[in-house]
């Protein structure tokens, strides 16, 4: 028995030793600038690197404070704490497999910290070569992406559809009479050069990772968007229209301004599929009531405004929040309205609320999202230029100002229709509004958590009342906006509704 116990104790000690076993030594940081030694430690299957030494090797500085450490590399400031496996840089998370450790007063982070840091702040990749103890820092490599190009003319709009074998990063550069799609990855091109018989497009030329699109005239402008499954880049070309007197300045990175006014409206029925949203005390699901109401609203708006009205979903399906806004951007919508039913802990809460995006949430994410979706319309080719960033800030502020007016019109009409005390217009960082490159609002029609409102929301009469109020709000905002830009209001076009199918890409030439 004693021998057994002794053996057990030895085994426990051995296991503990394996878990706690720590090896350390000198490793090499290998970067385009050369080799630098640093100290590493291996423990419990993780490799930690001396943060002080690696930061110094990268030309940065590290400063301790009472809550952890701040690192400054180039213009980026990152932070990490002693116990958290999350660090931050520019408000982005840096995820580590385990928290950092401290050895003799110095911080050691898992090597993946630097992988995350440089991925978010540079075009550098970091890998750990465990066999040779090398932390390898090199320019990010990209796999070869196959590109197929097709050209079509759909209702007077020339389209180029680039179908990719895998998602790829790219920028679009504009010059006089030509556009260039520049991929970050090496590409496998379908041809070197091809002449095109099209009113707007003269020739396509692939060279390196560039596709150069030669146009037939210098006043042709392009607009671009991405589609998924399969990954595609679509470029629409049309002649630029002469500016309308009194028109608001064109928004950088936004939809083309040659067709002013509210012509396309995207209506977003909240939730759907497995995301049921809020559920009322009697079991009414938010996703069902938003869809029913939005179908009626789409029909009413098409009939009364003459605008093209698009639903982000016309069935009980799950659509991601990003997809909803991206769809509005792809359709070059002039207005975006997300429709929801509210819920509160207090069962007596009632009335409508209208939200638009808070400025804090609108800045960087919106810029990132819209830059990729509207790259062609950007006023300058260099995506990092300060001018572009300033213009973006102005553009986002303009969208917010317009969103505020739109939200105000909605709230006033909803209050008048329901007779409920004004719950007011509010700002919040709602995900579905982030990245919309048009005035956008989210309306909470009523409180599904209130038994009385839940019953009303199911009735046709109340739904019609709300649809009428929302229709009047859109009409009011449309008239107000078009008056302010000095636009002569066109005669209503034939009404049309559409569902969330992507814009037509036409036939392949």
């Amino acid at each position: 028995m004693k021998r057994l116990l002794s053996l057990g104790a030895v085994l426990v000690l051995a296991l503990a030793s394996i878990v706690l076993a720590q090896t350390s030594g000198q490793a090499t940081l290998r970067s385009p600038a050369g080799d630098r030694p640093f100290t590493y430690v291996q423990q419990s299957g993780q490799t930690y690197v001396s943060t002080n030494e690696v930061v110094a090797a990268l030309g940065g500085t590290i400063t301790p404070d009472s809550n952890g450490y701040k690192i400054t590399i180039s213009n980026a400031v990152a932070a990490f704490g002693p116990d958290s496996r999350f660090g931050v840089v520019r408000d982005d998370l840096i995820e580590m497999p385990v928290p950092p450790i401290t050895i003799e007063g110095a911080p050691y982070v898992p090597w993946q910290f630097f992988q995350g840091l440089l991925a978010k702040t540079s075009d550098l990749d970091v890998t750990w070569d465990a066999a040779n103890h090398v932390l390898l820092i090199r320019p990010r490599t990209h796999d070869v992406v196959g590109v197929q190009a097709s050209v079509a003319n759909v209702q007077g709009i020339s389209k180029i559809v680039l179908t990719l074998s895998a998602p790829a990063e790219y920028t679009i550069l504009k010059e006089q009479g030509a556009y260039t799609v520049r991929f970050k990855s090496p590409i496998q091109a379908p041809f070197a050069e091809q002449a095109v018989e099209d009113p707007s497009i003269a020739k396509l030329t692939f060279a390196g990772s560039d596709l150069r699109i030669q146009l037939t005239a210098p006043d042709i402008v392009a607009d671009a968007y991405k589609l998924d499954n399969p990954p595609r880049i679509v470029l629409d070309f049309r002649k630029a229209a002469a500016p309308v007197p009194g028109q608001l300045p064109a928004l950088p990175g936004a939809r083309p301004q040659e067709l002013p006014g509210i012509r396309t409206i995207v209506i977003d029925p909240g939730h759907g599929g497995k995301e049921v949203g809020a559920v009322g005390p009697d079991g009414l699901m938010e996703k069902d009531i938003t869809l029913a109401l939005c179908r009626k609203l789409a029909a009413a708006l098409a009939g009364k405004t003459g605008a093209r009205v698009v639903l982000t979903r016309d069935d009980d399906v799950l659509v991601s929040l990003d997809q909803r806004t991206a769809l509005a951007n792809q359709y070059k919508a002039d207005l975006f309205l997300s429709v929801h039913m509210n819920s509160a802990v207090g069962k007596v809460a009632k009335g409508s609320e209208t939200y638009f995006l808070s400025l804090e949430a609108s800045d960087e994410l919106a810029r990132k999202a819209a830059e990729t979706e509207n790259a062609v319309s950007a006023p300058v080719a260099d995506p990092t230029s300060d001018l572009k960033l300033i213009l973006w800030d102005l553009a986002q502020q303009t969208y917010l100002d317009e969103s505020s007016r739109f939200a105000q019109a909605i709230q006033e009409e909803m209050n008048a229709a329901s007779g409920v005390a004004n719950r007011g217009v509010k700002q919040a960082p709602f995900k579905v509004l982030v990245g919309a490159t048009m005035p956008a609002a989210l309306v909470e029609v009523g409180f599904i958590s209130n038994p009385e409102e839940e019953a009303k929301l199911q009735s046709d009469d109340f739904q019609n009342l709300m649809v009428d109020a929302l229709t009047r709000a859109v009409q009011r905002y449309k008239t107000d906006y078009e008056t302010r830009i000095g636009m002569v209001r066109p005669a209503p076009a034939a009404p049309a509704t559409a569902t969330a199918a992507p814009p037509a890409t036409g036939t392949v030439q």
């Binding site: 009472s66 999350f86 509160a344």
Partner: protein, 171 residues
């Protein structure tokens, strides 16, 4: 075995609490916890709880106290009762990483914008009102970045206090 034991750490190493003494030193202190009032704005109640001296150690204690729900009449709990505070860390620069879990948040919290907004900001207000160094909260769920808590409020960036959500008497 000898070989294994030989590579056991020879350097002095710790799991790196920033200030062990401060973390272990506990004192009863008043904290402000934010809940929703019948007027549908955030109000605070003050509670005396035993707190570690170091903010890094005290923040998760305060958030767990928030999750216990209000004691004052009329105030309403905002987070689901089964919400678990997995961890909370204060980073240099004022970002607090709060990792939440629990079956409701894990399986999909079906609630409306108002409820979700007030829940998220009740935590933001509680953390920033009690700790001068805390300026914003970055939520993660079950140890991973999350899009939203319940389908509305974006968690892609840190959340800073929105004074308009708080009763002026409690700002």
């Amino acid at each position: 075995m000898v070989a294994i034991l030989a590579i056991v750490a020879c350097k002095k190493q710790s799991t790196a609490t920033a200030n062990v003494n401060a973390a272990n030193k506990v004192a009863v202190r008043p904290v402000r916890l934010f809940y929703e009032s019948p007027q549908m704005v955030l109000v605070s109640e003050t509670r005396n709880i035993a707190l570690p001296e170091s903010p890094a150690a005290a923040i998760p204690v305060v958030i767990r106290e928030l999750m216990k729900g209000p004691a004052s009449a009329g105030a309403m709990r905002l987070f689901p009762a089964d919400t678990v505070v997995r961890s909370a860390y204060l980073l240099p620069g004022g970002t607090v990483i709060v990792d939440l879990g629990g079956s409701t948040l894990t399986q999909g919290w079906g609630t409306g914008s108002h409820h979700e907004l007030m829940a998220a900001y009740s935590l933001v207000e509680t953390v920033t009102a009690n700790f001068a160094d805390a300026r914003r909260v970055r939520f993660v769920v079950n140890g991973a970045p999350a899009e939203t808590l319940a389908g509305h409020v974006s968690l892609a960036k840190s959340l800073s206090p929105i004074p308009q959500l708080v009763d002026p008497r409690f700002r």
